[in-house]
């Protein structure tokens, strides 16, 4: 594989950048693989990469119905953080933060990881207490957290509404300085390029039409481009999880919902952090292009549409304007939607299933993008070793049955409860 470097950039400049290698091939599916990963999104591509890199399993295919990186890895608001209170979430996410910090070097691909810090705003004394508790839990798990008072927040984000006459005054906030953003498409492409170079087949425009399960064991997968014999399948399909589960006669603690995001017209640099509104569900950062990247609540009803309705967008942006009034002057550039695999307790599932050789990775709710490397790493481990790693032990499928819920925020499918 051609290394991306300043020297290669200069060298290729002489030939007008016409002779770069393709970043990944377009292979025809083979008849048999050791592992098939269904879903060529961030998590699927990362899983294939870590299967090859950490476990030397390279006879792997990624099967993607559309094109790689066309789903939620290309539709999120690029926030990366590990500001969780529960140990299972905190340790998993912080492991991921270490992978994020080294990702550009590891993948030889600039993912533009920008640890600019995230601030969760608090709007009452009670919320400050909750944040203090969460911050302490984070620090006990080795994650950086700083509790900011109103004046400290004002120093960092003076453009927020600090006037006296607001419905939700800013009391302070919890900041994780090491959190940040990354270029989401580059994450997908970087993993794809490295996985491909190690021998993984990335098969696009190939839909899974069924499974060959014999005597409770995976025997193969049927696709629109032919049948493939395989003993281990990793399901990494986010918003399509329920559709494929139905083909496997499984009913999962997951509902498929629609989440919208939007960007404003590009403006000069004003916001150099990620900020979330504490009195509702709204988050914002500014992209390198200058656009304000914003998102918030689910549309609230089951949907596979990948496009949303205006009432939710209006609701979300109302919160945004309450937090940062200058946003009302901006024109909206684009809005879009993605379909989320909303688990019932708001935490993901990375586990084995009752079918031997079938591994499940789903339930990412609002937080799939930041989990990409840790999810890929632990899912690869689970598939390769046929047992869960201690980092994803809390993300078990049977926790709903046993009552060991991981209800970090209690935000599952029923958003109106919170």
């Amino acid at each position: 594989m051609q290394k991306y470097s300043i020297f290669n950039l200069i060298k290729n400049a002489f030939s007008g950048h016409q002779n770069w290698d393709l970043a990944w091939k377009d292979p025809t599916p083979k008849k048999e693989y050791d592992v098939v990963i269904i879903g060529g999104g961030g998590h699927g591509l990362a899983t294939a990469y870590y299967l090859a890199k950490e476990h030397n399993i390279t006879n792997v295919a990624i099967i993607e119905k559309g094109w790689i990186g066309g789903g939620n890895v290309g539709r999120n608001t690029t926030i990366i953080r590990s500001n969780y209170m529960h140990d299972d979430n905190a340790l998993f996410s912080e492991f991921g933060m270490d992978l994020w910090r080294n990702m550009s070097q590891d993948l030889n691909y600039n993912v533009m990881f920008s640890p600019r810090g995230i601030i969760n705003l608090a709007h009452s004394d009670a919320q400050m207490n909750v944040y203090a508790r969460r911050g302490n839990s984070m620090r006990l798990n080795g994650i950086d957290a700083i509790l900011l008072n109103r004046e400290q927040v004002k120093e960092i984000i003076p453009m927020a509404d600090f006037s006296d006459n607001v419905r939700f005054p800013i009391f302070g906030g919890l900041m994780q300085p090491s959190a940040g953003t990354a270029r989401h498409d580059a994450v997908a492409w970087g993993y794809a390029r490295q996985a491909d170079s190690m021998g993984v087949d990335i098969i696009q425009n190939c839909e899974v039409t069924g499974f060959d399960v014999v005597g409770g064991k995976v025997n193969g997968v049927r696709t629109s481009r032919g049948d493939i014999k395989v003993k281990k399948i990793g399901l990494c399909v986010a918003g399509s999880t329920n559709i494929l589960a139905e083909k496997l006669n499984m009913t999962l603690p997951v509902e498929t919902h629609l989440l919208q995001a939007c960007v404003s017209e590009p403006v000069k640099p004003i916001l150099d952090r990620v900020v979330t509104f504490g009195a509702g569900h709204f988050y914002i950062s500014q992209s390198d292009k200058g656009e304000m990247v914003m998102g918030g609540d689910l549309d609230g009803y089951n949907s596979y549409a990948q496009r949303g309705n205006l009432p939710t967008l209006q609701h979300v942006l109302t919160e945004g304007i309450a937090m940062m009034p200058f946003l009302s002057k901006l024109k909206m550039l684009r809005t879009w939607g993605g379909i989320m695999d909303m688990s019932m307790d708001g935490s993901p599932i990375i586990d084995k299933t009752h079918i031997e050789g079938l591994y499940l990775n789903c339930g990412w709710c609002y937080g799939g993008f930041k989990a990409t490397p840790a999810s890929g790493w632990t899912f690869a481990h689970t598939i390769a070793q046929d047992r869960v790693h201690k980092l994803n032990a809390g993300y078990s499928l049977n926790r709903f049955n046993t009552g060991q819920l991981l209800d970090e925020k209690g935000l599952g499918t029923k958003t109106w409860i919170s």
């Binding site: 329920n242 139905e246 089951n302 309705n309």
Partner: protein, 90 residues
Amino acid sequence: MLYIKCPHCGMRSQNEFSYGGDATVKRPELNSEVSDHDWDNFVYNRKSLRGKHWELWQHISGCRQWIKVERDTATHEIFNTLKAHEEISK
């Protein structure tokens, strides 16, 4: 914007409603032996169909009644609405 025909009030905008999830889920019978598996299915597990989906909505800013709505989860088209007590015809 969705427009939902409330069986009590007529056609209203989605802003007046709140969503209540899959309408076909049945609570296990009272006074019967209920296995963990049945509870699990009732509380957590959902088919989340792509296509026609019967679901509960509450006309929260209107008559406040719960209603059943048959909606396509891929196109958002609404085919049918029923009062809460009316059975879904198969």
